[in-house]
Subunit: 410 residues, 2 copies
C-alpha cells in the first residue's frame, strides 16, 4: 500500500500542472472508451448482479447496481459534460497590491490526492474519477464490495486511456486493499493523502471522522425540515412539501419533518393529510397535530430519524422562533426551507438557520450539484469547513497565493 | 466542561447574528477597557514574570511574555484596528440563477465555535478573541501555562464588556480545564466545537491532528526556501536572502535553506558568504558549496530542519527542476521564493511549487496577515483545506447558500 500511495502522490505533480485543454481531451477519450468497452463493463456488472442475487440484496440495491447499455452511455455522457465544464484550476479568486506594492494573487489549485469512499452505484467510479481529473487531483476510489467487478472494469477503461496518453495510471485508481484494514490505513496517511470524502452510512462516516488524520469532508445524513409559516401560500406549501417528501424519499435532500405554524394548523393540516395520504406517505405527528388529523403519534426519536422512506414526521410549532429552535436541535445542517409570503420571516429564517442550504418557497430537493448548475457532484458536504453543500469541481480545489515582487524586503 | 461547551455552543447563535456596527462598538469598548484596567493586567503579568524568573525561562521567552503600558496600549490599538475592518459576515461571495430560476446566493457566515491553542504572548488572547468576535464566532482560548495570570486578566476584561453589553460571557472564554486532559477532551467534542486552530510546537500540532475529531487548521512549521536562479539580479538576491534569513530568524516565514543555481554559484556564493558572515549567520553547506565558500558541511537532516535561529543551509542545484524537486521533498508548504529576471522560470516556479505562498523577487517574510493587509491574524495555515496561508477574519468564516424561490419543485 505505501508503494501505491507514493506513486499516487508522485502522480499528483503530473496531473496538477496538466493544461485544461489536454484534460478535456483525455476525458472525452475516456467517454469514448467506456462506450467502446461496453461489453467488458456489462460482463463485469453481470458478475456483480449474480453475486447480488446470491446474497439476496434488496431490489432497490440491485437497481442501483445494475448497468445496461443506456446506463453506460449515460456514464459516458456525464464524462463529456465534465470535460466541457470551465477549467477549475488557475482561477484568480482575488488579487490586490499590498502596502509594499507586492502584487498578490489568490489562485485556485488542485488539492492533491483525494480519497473517496462510496457505495453501490458504479457510475460514481467514473463520475468521481473524472471530477478529480478535471480539477487536477489524483483520485483514490474505494467503492462498495457489491460493485467490485463493475468498478474494476470501469477503472481499467479509464486507466487504459491514461496510459495511452502517457500519463501515470495512478491518477485514477481503486484502493488496492479495499478491506476495512485498507480503509483504516488510508485515512491515516496524511503524508500522501490530502482529503478523504466518505459518502455512505452514518457508521462509516463516524468511523472515518474519529480515526482519520487526513482532513475529511463528510457527506453525512440529511435531516431536512420544511416549515409552513402562518403567512404561507398554502397551495404552494402543499406542492413544495409533497415534492420535498415524495419525489425521491430515499435521498439526503428529501424532507423528513414538516413543521406547521399553529395559526394555520387547523386549516393546513387536513389538506396536507389528504395530499400525503394520496401519495402513500405514512405520517407520524405530535400530539397537537394528532388532534387535527388521523396520524400515528410520533415518538421523541422520530424528530431525529432520517427515514429515507415515504414516512413524514409532522409537528405544530407556536411560531418561527420555535421552528428555528426545533431545527437547531434536530436538523443536520443540510437543507431547510420556510414557506412564507412574509418578508421579515423569510429574512429571519435565512439568517438564523445554520445549514448548508436554506430555502424560501422552494423544495429542499434542489440541494444537488446538478440542480445548482455545478455539473456532476462529488457529494453534498455537511462539513462547515472547506466545502459546504453540493461539491463540484471548484470545491475540489484549494488555493495558493502567487506573489510578484521587484525586490521587496521587510 | 460539557456544561461550559453547551453554553459556548448556545452563545454562538447570539454572536452569529449580531450586526456589524454593534460588534465594532463592543470591540472599541473592549479596547477602552483594556486601557482602563491597565493596572490589574500589569499586576497579573508581574505574577507570570515572577514565575518565569523562578522557572528560569529564557530571556527570549520572558520578552514574549512581558507586558508594560506600551504593550497593553498596542493590544488596545490592535482591537480598534480589528473593529475597523470590513464586516466579514454576510458578504455575497457568488450569486446566480439556476435552470429552475431559483436565485442562489453564496453568503459568508461564521464558523461557530472556534478553539485556539497557543503559547506565550498574552496579546494573542486579546487579538484572537477579537478576531473571532468580529467574525461572529465563539472563541475558546487555551493559552500557555506560563501566561496564565496575564491571559486570565485580559479575558476577564473582555468578558466584563460582554456582560455590560448584555452578551453571554462565553462568547470569549479561556478553556476552563487547561490541562492536557482538558485539551484532549476539547478536540474530540465535534458536537460543540467547529474548528480547532493549534499554534505551537510540532508535538502539539501532531497530537491535535492525530486525536481530534473536530476539524483542525494547523499553524505548522515553516521550512522556507529561497532559490537564486541563474538569471537572478544578484544584488537583489543578496538583499532578499539576507532579509528572509536575518530580519527575524525565529519566525515561521524566515528562510531556512538557500538554493543557488550551479551556473552562478562561483560568482554568487562568495558574495553571499561575506554578507551572511557580516550578519553573524552560521552557514551549513552541501559539498559543492563547501568547495566555493568556507562553511560547515551540512548533514542530511539540515535540509529538514526549521532552525528558528540565525543558521542557514546552503545548497547548489543544477537547475530550476532540481530546485523544485528539493523543495517538494523538504519544504513544508509554507512560503517559497525564486529570484529571477527570467519570465519562464518565474511562471514555472509559481505554478509547480506547492506551497501556501510562492514568491518571485520578494522576501518570504511577507507571509503574514498584517503584511497581506488582512489586519491581525489568527495564524498562518499550513493546511490545504479551508484556509491556506495567513488567516484573517474572512478565513474565520464559512458560507451557506441562501436560495430564493417562488414555489419551485423538482
Amino acid at each position: 500500500m505505501e508503494g501505491f500511495l507514493q506513486k499516487a502522490k508522485a502522480s499528483s505533480a503530473v496531473i496538477a500542472t496538466l493544461d485544461g485543454a489536454t484534460k478535456s481531451r483525455v476525458l472525452r477519450k475516456m467517454a469514448d472508451a467506456l462506450e467502446e468497452e461496453m461489453e467488458s463493463i456489462l460482463q463485469a456488472n453481470a458478475k456483480d448482479m449474480a453475486a447480488a442475487e446470491e446474497n439476496e440484496l434488496s431490489s432497490a440495491l440491485k437497481d442501483r447496481l445494475f448497468l445496461d447499455e443506456k446506463r453506460v452511455e449515460a456514464m459516458a455522457r456525464s464524462l463529456r459534460e465534465i470535460a466541457a465544464l470551465r477549467e477549475p484550476v488557475g482561477r484568480v479568486l482575488e488579487g490586490w497590491r499590498n502596502d509594499a506594492n507586492l502584487r498578490i494573487e489568490k489562485v485556485s489549485v488542485p488539492i492533491g490526492v483525494v480519497g473517496v469512499i462510496y457505495e453501490s452505484r458504479p457510475n460514481v467510479t467514473a463520475d468521481v474519477g473524472a471530477l478529480c481529473f478535471k480539477s487536477g487531483n489524483v483520485a483514490i476510489l474505494k467503492g462498495g464490495k457489491e460493485a467490485e467487478h463493475s468498478n474494476r472494469a470501469i477503472a481499467e477503461v479509464l486507466q487504459g486511456v491514461l496510459e495511452a496518453e502517457g500519463l501515470p495510471r495512478e491518477i485514477i485508481s481503486l484502493l488496492p486493499d479495499s478491506s476495512r484494514e485498507g480503509v483504516a490505513y488510508l485515512i491515516r496517511q496524511d503524508r500522501y493523502v490530502d482529503l478523504i470524502v466518505p459518502r455512505g452510512g452514518e457508521t462509516l462516516i463516524r468511523y472515518v471522522s474519529e480515526n482519520a488524520t487526513v482532513p475529511v469532508v463528510k457527506h453525512d445524513k440529511g435531516l431536512c425540515h420544511t416549515y409552513v409559516h402562518r403567512a404561507a401560500d398554502q397551495e404552494m406549501a402543499l406542492k413544495i412539501a409533497l415534492n420535498a417528501k415524495c419525489d425521491r424519499p430515499g435521498v439526503c435532500n428529501a424532507m423528513e419533518t414538516l413543521l406547521v405554524d399553529r395559526a394555520i394548523a387547523r386549516d393546513f393540516l387536513p389538506k396536507a393529510y389528504e395530499a400525503f395520504r394520496a401519495a402513500g406517505t405514512e405520517l407520524r405527528a405530535d400530539e397537537e397535530a394528532c388532534g387535527i388529523i388521523d396520524a400515528a403519534l410520533a415518538a421523541e426519536e422520530d424528530w431525529d430519524t432520517e427515514y429515507l422512506a415515504n414516512i413524514l414526521a409532522v409537528k405544530v410549532v407556536e411560531n418561527i422562533d420555535e421552528a428555528i429552535t426545533h431545527i437547531r436541535r434536530h436538523g443536520s445542517g443540510h437543507s431547510e426551507a420556510i414557506i412564507t409570503e412574509d418578508y421579515r420571516a423569510a429574512e429571519k429564517f435565512l439568517d438564523e438557520v445554520d445549514a448548508a442550504c436554506v430555502y424560501v418557497n422552494a423544495s429542499t430537493r434542489f440541494t444537488d450539484g446538478g440542480a445548482f448548475g455545478f455539473g456532476a457532484e462529488v457529494g453534498i458536504s455537511t462539513n462547515k469547513l472547506h466545502a459546504r453543500g453540493p461539491m463540484g469541481i471548484n470545491e475540489l480545489t484549494t488555493y495558493k497565493y502567487k506573489i510578484y515582487g521587484e525586490g521587496q524586503t521587510r
